[in-house]
Subunit: 309 residues, 2 copies
């Protein structure tokens, strides 16, 4: 029996403008990007909430691929909406509007069958709710967690409590810096390790991602794309690829974690090649594997004769 | 007989302040950082100019390691001085003063024995002078060239002429973007390839460096340093390691170019671990090789069984 892979996070309607086009009320949010990426590698169980206005069928494509939406609650009220605009070179974005809607009162409840999940990804929500989700999972083997600057500032104590209960903190570089108070990203990663997790994953956008443990540091660059259309969701797609790969293999060795980083980077690269989750809609396992091989070609070098240890 | 490796560039007196300390009138400049790094791998010939005030003996340590300074002219007047201050996190710097002194009238003249050099690095000087140097080299096998935004704007035509005569343009990411007018770094690198060079090397500071040819893209990250003291000269030390490795092997295959990128990144990492060229003063070939092995550990991953092509 395959191990359960659970994600808890936002299910949103995104309106995003980039220099290359825009979307209006398109499916988005951390749980959506995570599961659209992860399901290419392993079945995914989603816990989240949508409003009465969420377009019926908007998530049907995910379901068809193997995403179990039985943990998605439909609540009275408006769906979570997020509106943002990217700069001309996609290097920065401005949030124009955030309407939490039913997400404001979200109290994640896991269906009975989800409580057996072994691999858990806690998307960026209130750390109090993240802790509440963990309480509902019976025997988690690997718990990864995202957060954001808002929680780092407003709920620091709860976030530090959470760190004692998770295996991997997966944050972007500015979050790692703010949480630790250290601008050096390697010291920041080690500061986090000292608070509980055995792995820190730092997402660095166009510069790839970093895996830091007590024993090793591993770096995967971003895939060299000549065309990037929409960076939204890349970090959650990365997390989906990372966790999906690990769940599919059940192997948590150093070698497997390194590969998981590359699968994450591959999924992140597919995510940014189109608007919203569309970039992931038609990606096959064969496509992902081909891109993982391309990553190997991107970074691989042989030692010279004189320097074989 | 070993092939000659020639560098033409600035020989300066740097006064640099970082949050961790400062230097005053310390040896610096592109030719100094290049040769301090390159000579660890291969003898280096330097062409440059110093003023009558340049401290006698300031370059003696380089000479002792195998740097041939017979192309360094001592001219009447003041030496090139550069004064800069870095931000708290070293991510940006402000140039406080640039006094060209004798560098303003520098017209590189190669000693007869330097004209046989096979590997040539044209440090960041006026493209007209870079072309003048090339005219003096009899049979160059590999010519790499740096430049800066100032020349991109003020001498664009000469720079484009130069591109038709060199093998490698080695610039940082903002320079590649300004030269090509394209913010996407991979398209910018290809724009450069279309103008003559067969390789573009993009230096990305704390994010490593990128090698782009018509056939392949190779990325080396920066070495994960928990302590960086002074980023000055990292790019020239990178160039010295890159060219020094190639000159020492005489191998310009794809596999060797990839290794050269890693040797460059290794030398860049040593350069930033101390102030000025000091970080390179005691580095041995064994140290460099050990760091190259550490780079391999940083980026290496094995393909999974299912994905061996």
């Amino acid at each position: 029996m395959s191990v359960g892979l659970l994600v808890v996070g936002s299910i949103a309607l995104d309106s995003v403008a980039t220099p290359f086009g825009e979307t209006a009320d398109a499916p988005g949010g951390s749980a959506v990007f995570f599961s659209a990426a992860g399901v290419i590698l392993h079945p995914v169980q989603v816990v989240g909430v949508i409003g009465t206005d969420y377009p019926p069928g908007a998530l049907r494509a995910l379901e068809a691929r193997g995403v179990d939406l039985s943990g998605v609650e439909r609540a009275q009220g408006e769906s979570f909406r997020w509106k943002a605009k990217y700069s001309y070179d996609l290097s920065s974005r401005e949030t124009l509007e955030t309407r939490l809607g039913v997400f404001a009162e979200f109290r994640p409840k896991l269906p009975a069958k989800f409580r057996d999940a072994r691999y858990v990804f806690l998307g960026n929500i209130d750390p109090e709710l993240q802790l509440g989700v963990l309480d509902q999972v019976k025997h988690p083997e690997l718990v990864a967690c995202d957060t954001m600057n808002y929680w780092i500032h407003s709920k620091r104590d709860l976030l530090l409590e959470l760190l004692r209960h998770i295996d991997i903190l997966m944050v972007n570089d500015s979050e790692a810096r703010e949480l630790s108070g250290d601008w050096n990203i390697y010291r920041a990663a080690r500061w986090i390790l000292a608070r509980g997790p055995r792995l820190t994953v730092v997402k660095q956008g166009e510069h790839g991602a970093l895996l830091v443990s007590a024993e090793a540091t591993f770096k995967v660059p971003a895939y060299p794309l000549q065309e990037v259309f929409d960076p939204t969701g890349a970090g959650d797609a990365f997390a989906g690829g990372f966790m999906g790969y690990l769940a599919s293999t059940g192997d948590l060795s150093d070698a497997s974690l390194r590969r998981a980083m590359v699968y994450g980077a591959a999924l992140g690269s597919f995510a940014v090649e189109a608007f919203g989750v569309e970039g992931l809609a038609d990606v096959t396992l064969a496509d992902v594997r081909a891109r993982v091989r391309a990553f190997r070609d991107l970074v691989h070098f042989d030692m010279d004769e004189a320097n074989r240890a």
